[in-house]
Amino acid sequence: MTAAIPTIALVGNPNAGKSSLFNALTGARQKIANYPGVTVERKAGHASFADGRPMSLIDLPGSYSLTPASPDEAVTRDVVLGQQAGERRPDALVVVVDAANLDNHLCFALELIALGLPTVVALNMLDLAERDGLTLDPAILSRELGVPVVPTVAVRKRGLADLLAAVDGAILTHQLETHDHADPPPSDAALHQRARAIARAATLSETPVRRWTQRVDAVLLHPALGFLILLALMFVMFQGVYAWSEAPIGWIEGGIAALQEAVTAALPDGFLRGLIIEGILGGVGSVIVFLPQILILFLFILLLEASGYMTRAAFLMDGIMAKVGLSGRGFIPLLSSFACAVPGIMATRAIPDAKDRLTTILIAPLMTCSARLPVYTLIIGAFIPNTNVGGSPVGLQGLVLFGLYLSGIVGALVVALVLRRTVAKGNAAGFMMEMPRYQWPRLRDVGIALWQRAWIFLRRAGTIIFVTTIALWLLLSYPKVPEGSSESQVDYSVAGRIASGLEVVVAPIGFNHDIALALIPAMAAREVAVSALATANAIEAGDDEEAMAQSLSERLQGRWSIATALAFLAWFVFAPQCISTIAITRRETNGWRWPLFMVGYLFLLAYAAAGITYWTAVAFGLG
C-alpha cells in the first residue's frame, strides 16, 4: 500500500455535530480553501493516531443522502465516490450521526456504509441523547450496521481516542479483505425502513421527546411574542456593537497614537516618516480600530447559529420573505451579510431554487456589512449628538445606526420584490429545513470561528486596505504644492485633481471635494473611505500644530454640513463599493452579467438615496 498520509473524511447529516467533532480532532490546525471550480468550502486539518502517525482529515458539507440537492451536497457525494477533481478518494469515512436522531441519520449512514470504504460510525452527542431520555446500545448498533460504532461527545472531547483507534483498525482489516462488490442502491423507502428498524433495535429505552426544546419553542416561535423577541435580539445586537466596543476602540487608538509618537521620535522628518505616520499608521490604523465592532457582530451571529436559534429566526422570517418571493432560507445568508456580504453570498449555496438564490445574492450587499461600520460610526460620531432619546435609555446615535440598518433591509425587500417580478421571475420558492435542538454554544467552537473572522479582517486590512491607503497617500502627496501658493496640498495633488473631476458628478447630491476624494479608493473596500479621509486630513493639516491636534471628526464637523453628512450615510446604505463582493458574485453566478447588473442598480439607488436625503435635509434648513 501507499506510504502516503491517510485521508479520513468526516461525513454526515446537517446538525449531526460534524464540525464540533472536526474541531475537537484537529484543534486550531485547520485550513479552509475552496474546491477547485466550485465555491464550496473545503475544510481540512491534521491529527495523529495514538502512535504518532499523522492523518489528514476533511470535513465534508452536511448532506442527507448521496443524491445531491445543492452544490455543497454534490461535493460530498463526489468526494466519497472519488470523483471530485483534485481530491484523492478518502482512505476511510467517519460517519457522524446524532445519537438522538438515529431514525433519520442512519439512512445516509447506510448509504455510505454500502460504498465499501473502511467506515466507522461516530455516535455523536450521546450526552444530549441521554438528557433527552434515550438509552442506546452501541454494540447492537454496530452489529446491525456491520461497522464499528464509537460513542462520542465531540464538545467534551469524549471518545476521540477510541474513534481514531477504530478508524485505524478499519483501514487495516479492509486491506486484508477483498472488496469487489458494491451493493445496488436500495430505494428510499427500503432505506428508511431499515434505518428505523436498526434504530429501534439499538434503542433500549426512550421517553417522550425534547420537552425542553419544545417548551422554549412555545415562547420563541410564538406568532407574536417570538417575533418581538427576534426584533429585540437584533436591536440589542446593534446597540451592543455600538456600546460595548467603546473601550477596546479607545485602547487601539491609544496604541496607534503611541506608535506614531515613537516613529516621530525615531525618524527624521521626510518621506519615510510621512509614509509611516500618515499613510500606514493613519490609514490602516483608522480601519483596524473597527475590529472590536466587527468581532462583537460576528460573536452575536455565531452564538445565534451555534445555539440553534438561527433556524427559528428563519422560521419566523419566512412569512415576510415569502411575500417578496424569497424563503426563510435566505434569512441566514442575509444575516451573515450584516457581518460581510462575501460569506453571506457564499452561504446562499444552501438555497436550492436558482432564482431564489440569485435574488438573495443580488440583495445581499444591501445588508449593512461590517465594512460600513467604520464609515457610519465616524459620521454618526461627528454629526449626531450623543444624547438619549427623550430620557429613555435608548441612545440617539444607536438609533440612527439602527435606522441605517433598517433602510438597507427595507431597500433589500423592495428590490427583491421587483427582481422576482422582472429579471429573476420563477416559481414560488420552497422552504424545507431541519430545526436543530437548542444547545449551549461551545466557547471553543465559537472562539475558533471568531478568530478565523478576525484573521480575515486583519488580512484584508494588511493587504487591500494597506495598498490602497499607500497609493492614495502617494497620489495625495505629489506633486508638492509650490511655496506660497494659496491652494492646499490636497487640492493640488494628483488625487485632488481626479476628485475635482468626480466632484462635478456628485455635487448635486451634496458631496464635497473631501467625499469625492474618498469615494475613489473606497471602490476597493468601503472602510477605505475612512482611511482616505484620515490620510487626506493628515496631509492637509501638515505641520499645523493646531490642526494636527484636532480629531478627524472635529475636522469634518467644521467642513461638512449636516445635510452633506446625512447624504453621505444614505449613499453608503446602497453603494456597491467592495471589490471582494463583486468578485464573489461573479464567481457564484458564473459570469460578469449579474455582478455588473448589481453594481449598476446599486449605484443608481445610492445616487438617488443620497440626493433625496440631501435635498430633504436642505429643505429643513440643515444645509
Binding site: 442527507y64 443522502s65 443524491t67 440537492a69 438522538a100 436522531n101 431514525d103 433519520n104 439512512c107 433527552d132 434515550l134 428510499d188 423507502a189 428508511h192 421527546v209 425534547r210 426544546t213 419544545q214 419553542d217 416561535l221 406568532p223 407574536a224 417570538g226 417575533f227 433556524t311 428563519a314 422560521f315 419566523l316 422570517m317 419566512d318 412569512g319 415576510i320 415569502a322 411575500k323 426563510g328 436550492p352 414560488a428 420552497g430 422552504f431 424545507m432 429545513m433 431541519e434 430545526m435
Partner: protein, 83 residues
Amino acid sequence: MNAKLDSAPLGVAVRISRIDWDAMSHDEGRRLREFGLMEGIDVTPLHRGSLFSRDPLALSVGRMQVIIRARQAAMIEVAPTAP
C-alpha cells in the same frame, strides 16, 4: 376522514395516509422522504407561521423537527393516529 396536513390542529399527532408525490417536484419529494415524511409515519404539527403569515409549518417527525411550507403540507393527507 381525510384532512390535509396544512389545516391539521397544532399539537395533535396524526398519521400520514397519502402523499401526492405527483403534485410536487422531484427534489421536493426527495427532501420530504429524507426528512422521514412518508406514508404510515406519525407527525405532530407544532408551530404555524408568525405574525404576518400562516406559512411555514414546523412539525415533529420521530425525534426530529422539520419546517415545510403550507403548500407542501397541502399535498399530505393525514388521518387520526390509531388509538
